[in-house]
């Protein structure tokens, strides 16, 4: 299985029925593919419509119905159009059950940096700061290292997205829960040793008892 599919499948296990969930562009958007068919979830994209469905058949696209990345989508039965004010009312008002975002760095405090690399890449924060500040659960879905460089670090060196502790970090190597005490290692990736995880991680990991492997299909 590819790294990103491991991550997406593991994140999907966090989603409970009837949740309102926002999936970021890129890797997080794959999570939808791994939800059991019988689990009904409301997907929200920042740009509007609660109840996003998959891409429509060719020729049936509607230029007024896209996801936040501009890709064509459909509306599931029971969908609701919302404007940006309502969209962020849901996000910032504590109504969004879960957001899944990509990450550049996460640190020992559980703080996320994911919106810019000074001097290199300034795309803008979009809705990321609102999502991390406002969602009930914040899940960071990212590969464990970037071309060998550690992404889970003692202190973020990149500009922070928010000073809020994220709920969970899911990589292809590990599931990590940021807590008041620090980063607790919950699960290992398929066939990944504790040693490999520690080596690939730039922050102190709290390892308690046996650390089980992720259960994937």
């Amino acid at each position: 299985m590819e790294d990103k599919d491991i991550i997406a499948q593991r994140v999907a296990q966090e989603i409970k029925p009837e949740m309102l969930v926002n999936l970021g562009i890129g890797l997080p958007s794959l999570v939808a593919n791994f939800l059991p068919k019988d689990v009904h979830v409301f997907f929200q994209a920042e740009n509007g419509v609660i109840g996003l469905g998959p891409r429509p058949p060719e020729g049936m696209e509607d230029e007024d119905l896209t996801d936040a990345g501009g890709g064509f989508v459909t509306a599931m039965p029971g969908a609701a159009s919302i404007d940006s004010a309502m969209s962020f009312a849901l996000i910032r008002g504590g109504h969004l059950d879960m957001t899944v975002l990509g990450g550049l760095q996460v640190d020992e405090r559980g703080y996320l940096a994911n919106w810019m690399v000074p001097g290199k890449m300034v795309p803008g924060m979009g809705g990321a700061m609102d999502l991390v500040a406002g969602a009930k659960e914040v899940i960071v879905a990212m590969v464990h290292t970037a071309k060998g460089a550690q992404k889970i670090v003692e202190r973020c060196t990149l500009p922070l997205t928010a000073v809020r502790r994220v709920s969970l970090i899911v990589t292809e190597m590990a599931v990590i829960k940021p807590t008041e005490r620090g980063l607790v290692l919950l699960e290992r990736g398929p066939g990944v040793s504790l040693d490999a995880i520690v080596k690939a991680t730039g922050a102190k990991l709290i390892i308690e008892g046996d650390v089980p492997e992720m259960r994937l299909n």
Binding site: A45, E46, N47, G48, V49, D62, E63, D64, L65, T66, D67, A68, G69, G70, A75, S81, I82, D83, S84, A85, S87, F88, I91, R92, M121, V122, P123, G124, M125, G126, G127, A128, M129, D130, A133, G134, P159, L160, T161, A162, V163
Partner: protein
């Protein structure tokens, strides 16, 4: 009653140097015919407030490419490399604002509030130079209202009073921006006679709209 203008006649109303709020999210829901007419007319020195600058050749991206814009206030410019290039070369000033904060700042301008008190951006670069107000011991950023000389609105349907309806993810910033322009110009796909739209279907009351652009077809 409002007589519907051609897109060119509407573009002629917008002087160089205007502050324009422009609806749309990655070009979905933007007033496309008006933008094309503004490019044709060669408008200059605009300040554009919008969620994003779309991509080259699409929506607001066309205004960026043709050099009509001096300053952009947006949440995301990542999918338009020309915006980034012009920003780095100093040709274009860019103010990045979290998406939820941006929509609330525009709303505050439109509904007459003194500003927005938000937790989004606390502890990040967004905080710089801004007043922090404590409410019951919790710190909030004071974000200032935004108003435009013009709000340029894309919509699904209008009547000749200017009552507006929107479609799916083409709502986005449009309904809120229609509150915050000194002059509001709406570009509907269709226009119907007064009395045809049910009162409950109106999302922007016509009293907010100054000019209508002719229907698309």
């Amino acid at each position: 009653m409002k007589t519907a203008l051609s897109a060119d006649a509407a573009a002629a109303l917008i002087p160089d140097g205007s502050v324009c709020l422009i609806g749309g999210f990655m070009a979905v829901g933007s007033p496309h015919r008006l933008i094309d007419a503004m490019v044709r007319r060669g408008v200059k020195n605009l300040t554009i407030v919008a969620n994003d600058t779309a991509m080259p050749g699409k929506g607001i991206g066309k205004l960026i490419t043709c050099g009509a814009v001096r300053k952009v206030i947006a949440s995301h410019i990542g999918l338009n490399p020309e915006t980034q290039k012009k920003m780095i070369s100093g040709e274009l000033e860019v103010e990045l604002v979290p998406q939820g904060t941006l929509v609330e700042r525009i709303r505050a301008g439109g509904v007459g509030l003194g500003g927005v008190l938000t937790a989004t951006g606390i502890g990040t670069l967004v905080e710089e130079g801004k007043q922090i107000v404590e409410v019951d011991g919790k710190p909030y950023l004071l974000e200032k209202p935004i108003k435009g000389d013009f709000a340029l609105i894309g919509c699904k349907q209008a009547d000749y009073y200017g009552n507006l309806e929107y479609s799916l993810t083409a709502h986005n910033f449009n309904p809120i921006m229609a509150l915050a322009g000194k002059q509001v110009i709406a570009e509907p796909h269709h226009i119907v006679p007064v009395g045809v739209i049910s009162p409950d279907d109106v999302k922007t009351p016509g009293v907010l709209v100054n000019h209508l652009i002719e229907r698309a077809i």
